[in-house]
Amino acid sequence: MELCAWRREPSFLRLSLRKLSLRRSWFALLWLVSVFALSAAAPEKHLTVYSTAANYSVPVVQHEYRDYVGLLELLDPLGSVSVKADPPRWRIHYNNVLGEFIAGKSQARIQGRGADLTGRFLLDNGRGLVPVDCLNSLLPRFLGGPATLHEESSRLFIGNIATHFTAAVPLDDSSRLVFHFTAPVNPMVATEPGKVRLTFRREPITAPASPRLTFNSKIISSADYSERDGSAEITVTTSVPLIASFSPDGRTITLSPPKSQVAGNASTGAVPANPAPPNNPPPRPLAIPNPAPPVVRRYFAIVDASHGGLDRGEALSPTLAEKDVTVEFARRLRQELESRGISTLVLRDSDANLSLDDRAFFANSTHAAVYIALHAASNGHGVRLYTALLPSAAGDERGPFRDWTTAQMPSLSLSQATAGSVANELKKVQVSVRTLTAPLRPLNNVLTAAIGVEVAPPATDVSPLTAPDYQQLIAGAVANGILAMRSQLGAAP
């Protein structure tokens, strides 16, 4: 009947219906294309979690422009978890810790005590969701230990799990770049013209003291650290193709040009960095017996350009900040020290924010023989050398642990001797010099010999602070002073 009725419809109506049908098809097609396009454009976001128990990732959902994560999924791999949902109430037991949440409320109770969630708690089909940005404060209440969230890169570190690294160009071969990691790593290696990328998806790699490390090498100029989408990446800028070789223990990665690597391949597993696509399985160290142990790079000197980032230090002039003078001077001092055979790491080699605790941590963890903090000043003239102002009695020592505020105490006499040696060298080049003590962190937190060098202009005009010849004069004398102390400093703990 319907067919008959259809046939009976006038031609203009049939045309309209056809148009409508065609339009519907177009809409359907457009909708499908949109759905596919959107699904391709917005991949599911994940939070990567690093812990001693497991490394895993959990999905992140968005609600009212905020990132949320399921608390059950987050805690489940870390311990024994049970959940009881009784909307709007939601209870979670993690080991012996009870968390009580109410849907729509931004306050929760952990073990009966209030906890701020920074946003509303969501209940989605019995699944309890908490804002990602509250994890820094919420998780320690459950876990009893620290949790560090890198929100921008969606990385969460449970406990002190971070893997640190150093990068250096060996003095005897400036064509190689050697990375040392505090734990075994297995990154994906990929290249593009002028770059080698090491991508760490499973390893809790954390940023070095400065996100950009620069090297005195014509082949390898810098290495940049970045984090995004749950992974960390080191990008090495190079003028020639490099291949990566891994030490058997997975803690050392050496990047070198293929020619120089030929001989080295006999002892280490070499993985060509070119042209490994990013999606390939990560290169694994070859199980070739290696008679030579991996060379562990130890810096003799750590040069720390004080201030940086938001901390500008003293305004030496309306246009000149202390932080800029110190970093320039640090690079020059590194050059002077390395030219005298003293391996040197510049702690802040860019305009990075670096806390005093971080500076002390890096100085201590690299086991350098001497730490030199650089400052600049507009008043006075010449150079002032500082050692830590410490109380007459030692701090609270407990077994192998040292009091953080007086960690310098055992090395103080060595620091004073180093300052004296540098002062003598400065006097030799007719630079006015004073040696003083000062409550100047992080000198008191550093375990090894530690001095502060405050460079003031030779007269009232501050412009010589940036003059190459003035910097060279002082850097050379400081380097000579360190060199003169080398044998004593080398025996430092």
Binding site: G380, L390, P391, L436, T437, P439, R441, E454
Partner: protein, 199 residues
């Protein structure tokens, strides 16, 4: 039927409420327009008068980068804590003077000095003192040594000193001198000796 006097009473109360609201609004606007107390650089307490005593102030000289012991006669109260405050007020007054050898920012002041047995002195400076302090290792070193040495030299029994800013702990004085820890007076003694000599 509502009696007429009810209407009158309600109207009077309404007018009173409106009048009080307008008055409260006016007072609030006046309070907002009044300058903040923090900008008042005048001393908070009346200067102490009475018999003077000789004290030793350790005065910083920026031109040479040194600290000099300087005798002064100032009126001092008998209470130990007030004496400590007056000593430091005298030192700050010197630094705020026209021919100051170690200029401090306008409005710099000592809020209080607390003496806590055994041997602890807490110096609480105001925000202007720290916020306006010139940055530099030596300048800050001189200020810290000047305050602590002046206090320790004139008030017996002080072995440790803590410096607070507006009653709170601050990381550094002006980017360099660490204020997070207690200062050991014997260590500051040695620093003072270093700062008293021109090497």
């Amino acid at each position: 039927m509502i009696p007429r006097h009810f209407y009158i009473a309600a109207s009077v109360m309404l007018v009173a409420v409106l009048g009080m609201s307008i008055y409260a609004w006016h007072m609030r606007a006046r309070a907002v327009a009044t300058p903040a107390a923090a900008t008042d650089t005048q001393p908070m307490v009346a200067p102490v008068s009475g018999p003077t005593e000789q004290v030793t102030l350790f005065v910083a000289y920026d031109d040479l980068g040194i600290l000099r012991a300087q005798a002064a006669r100032i009126p001092l109260p008998s209470v130990r804590q007030e004496r400590a405050e007056e000593l430091l007020h005298a030192l700050i007054a010197l630094y705020l003077g026209k021919s100051s050898p170690h200029p401090l920012s306008v409005g710099s002041d000592i809020r209080s000095v607390y003496l806590v047995d055994p041997g602890l002195a807490v110096i609480d400076v105001n925000a202007a003192f720290a916020d306006g302090h010139r940055s530099g290792v030596l300048e800050e070193d001189l200020t810290v040594a000047s305050l602590i040495q002046t206090l320790a030299a004139n008030i017996p029994g002080i072995s440790r000193v803590k410096i607070l800013v507006e009653g709170k702990q601050r990381d550094t004085l002006a980017g360099h001198a660490d204020l997070t820890d207690f200062f050991d007076v014997s260590a500051v003694n040695q620093l003072t000796s270093q700062l008293q000599s021109i090497q």
